[in-house]
Amino acid sequence: MSDVNSADAAFSAGTATAAAEPPTGGDGASGLPAAGEKPRSLRGDAWRDLRGNPIFLVSAALIAIMVVMAAFPGWFTTRPVGKADLSLSRQPPSSDGWFGYDLQGYDIYTRTIYGARASILVGVLSTLGTMAVGVVAGVTAGFAGGWVDAVVSRLTDVFFAIPILLGAILVLSSFPSDVETPELVIILKVVAALVILGWTGVTRIMRSSVIQVKQADFVQAARALGASPVRIIVKHVLPNSIQPVIVVSTINLGGFIGAEATLSFLGIGLQPPVVSWGIAINDASQYLRVSPHMLLFPSFFLSITVLAFIMLGDAVRDALDPKLR
């Protein structure tokens, strides 16, 4: 192939340094160890870097708080999430209701705490979903090459060409939810929509990463020793090519939480009875001029969560990418 392989090369360049990372890690010792000191792997090195990075510590702490909030909302508030008092409708923040009350008279503080669960669930599940599909498709295409690669790459092109928001609206319209639908099913529908449209990015990164690693000496050596393709992939290719995917997925997680909020804002993502930040923002948008507090608190929590995941991804990338040292 004489051309600079079109969109794929373009994409790996586009996702900043993450995808262009040279294959290092597990098999090759990084740097010369000092006498008497145990040689550290790249991962050990990265972990040491991370522990001393204040950005990593702050974002990890924020994420930990959000996850605890999602798992045990009862620890943060004693009020029931379903309790509404219409006489309190759109009351501003006070010592009684710290974040004020929304249109239905729900306590916004309680709703915001409980809203973490849906957002985090959508973010985590969508990320795991895109990683699973993307890694399998990317490894298959990159390792097999030939017509398999061509088919997977064209399929990736097809899905990549559809804007994620537009595609997600279509998928969610095909499987509409109503008040009767169980909460988890509504959440899983949004996850499915985001995974169907979002797997292409991970696939492309994984594919180009695998192609790089495939040519490494240790893979050739394993092949010469007669290792089966499955063993080569699991033992040698995967551990050495998955780092860019981990970085991008961490950053994507924040993006998925934002996408869920956008879909809910359009009235097509999560829907009541699910409590989520996106729904709260949607409700608040019509009363922005008179009761801005209804918008402020849910969007603040949403932004902080997205921010935490993006910062975490940045920190992990800086630690893993030797070029930036």
Binding site: S2, D3, V4, S6, A7, A10, F11, A13, G14, A16, T17, R154, L155, D157, V158, F159, A161, I162, P163, I164, L165, L166, G167, I169, L170, V171, S173, S174, F175, P176, G254, G258, A261, T262, F265, L266, I281, S285, L288, R289, P292, L295, S299, L302, S303, I304, V306, L307, I310, M311, K323
Partner: protein, 307 residues
């Protein structure tokens, strides 16, 4: 070069067919009856529904319907909506507005994003660098619709700097929506440019240029910037399609009569022909932009050749 373009165009045909089929089958799956509520308070007479379904061929199987759509499309016929309006007409009304909005957004991205990225990249760790890093993080983490709503309320309603809505889609009205639409990508462009400039500044060719005694302005503006632009151009090229799609939110907030609103309404009304038409044009624009970007590489970096 010529052979490369032809090969890319052939690949593109495959992708367009795949994408339209995908969208077509999703629309085919959409639940509900497209003729519900079309006849006022009463349900539509059975004879009418039957005649309409026959006219649009809705009872045929998916491959048959898709084949018919594709052969019409090849003759330049986008079909018509259930209310009898030509889809090409709807597209011709909506696309120019959205194109204007997206182009404006791209220009804002290029102007502000690249200059902020360059300024931050040449002094890594300086005050301006940190300012750019922090402010882009803030912009990335706030959802677009919150930025849009707040901008509309403050800049539009309270201070009256920009028109609060853009119902006519004139250039002046579109400025604020374009800024909102561009905000997220602007932040990415700035960060990408920064990282790329900072990396390339360590290049041997930059040291050579400085050693030759070239003025700093030339070293950074010509030598470094040109080499750093490839990832940025890639991002902007791919972003044009995203902007067209992401316009759904911005157009909704600012009441802009563009593609986003048209698509959203059409999905809700099960107007399959409109949805598929919009997406087909969108995908075509997206693919052509990507081809253009790939050809731009050779201009930016002469080492890249297409043979």
């Amino acid at each position: 070069m010529g052979r490369y373009v032809v090969r890319r165009l052939l690949q593109m045909v495959l992708v367009v067919i795949g994408t339209t089929f995908l969208i077509f089958s999703m629309v085919y799956l959409l639940p509900g009856d497209p003729f519900a509520g079309k006849c006022g308070d009463r349900p539509c007479p059975e004879a009418y529904v039957k005649a309409q379904r026959a006219k649009f061929g809705l009872d045929d199987s998916l491959p048959v319907q898709y084949g018919r759509y594709l052969s019409n499309l090849l003759q330049g016929n986008f079909g018509e909506s259930f209310s009898g309006v030509k889809v090409s007409e709807l597209l011709a009304n909506a696309y120019p507005v959205t194109m204007k909005l997206a182009t404006l957004a791209i220009l804002i991205e290029i102007a502000i994003g690249i200059s902020a990225g360059v300024l931050a990249g040449i002094r890594r760790g300086g005050f301006f660098d940190n300012l750019v890093l922090v402010s882009t993080l803030v912009v990335i983490s706030i959802p677009v619709f919150v930025i849009g709503l707040v901008a509309q309320l403050t800049l539009g309603v309270k201070f009256g700097i920009f028109p609060a809505t853009a119902g006519d889609g004139t250039l002046y009205q579109l400025v604020m929506p374009a800024i909102v639409l561009a905000a997220l990508s602007l932040a990415y462009v700035a960060r990408l440019t920064r990282a790329s400039i900072a990396e390339n500044l360590r290049g041997d060719y930059v040291r050579t240029a400085i050693a030759k005694g070239l003025p700093r302005r030339r070293v950074i503006g010509i030598h470094t910037l040109r080499n750093s632009l490839i990832p940025v151009v890639t991002f902007i090229g791919a972003d044009f399609g995203t902007l067209l799609g992401g316009a759904i939110v911005t157009e909704g907030i600012f009441n802009i009569p563009g593609v986003g609103g048209l698509t959203f309404r059409s999905i809700r009304l099960r107007e399959g022909a409109i949805v598929v038409g919009v997406v087909t044009v969108l995908v075509l624009v997206f693919l052509l932009m990507n081809l253009l970007v790939d050809l731009l590489y050779a201009v930016l970096d002469p080492r890249i050749r297409y043979e």
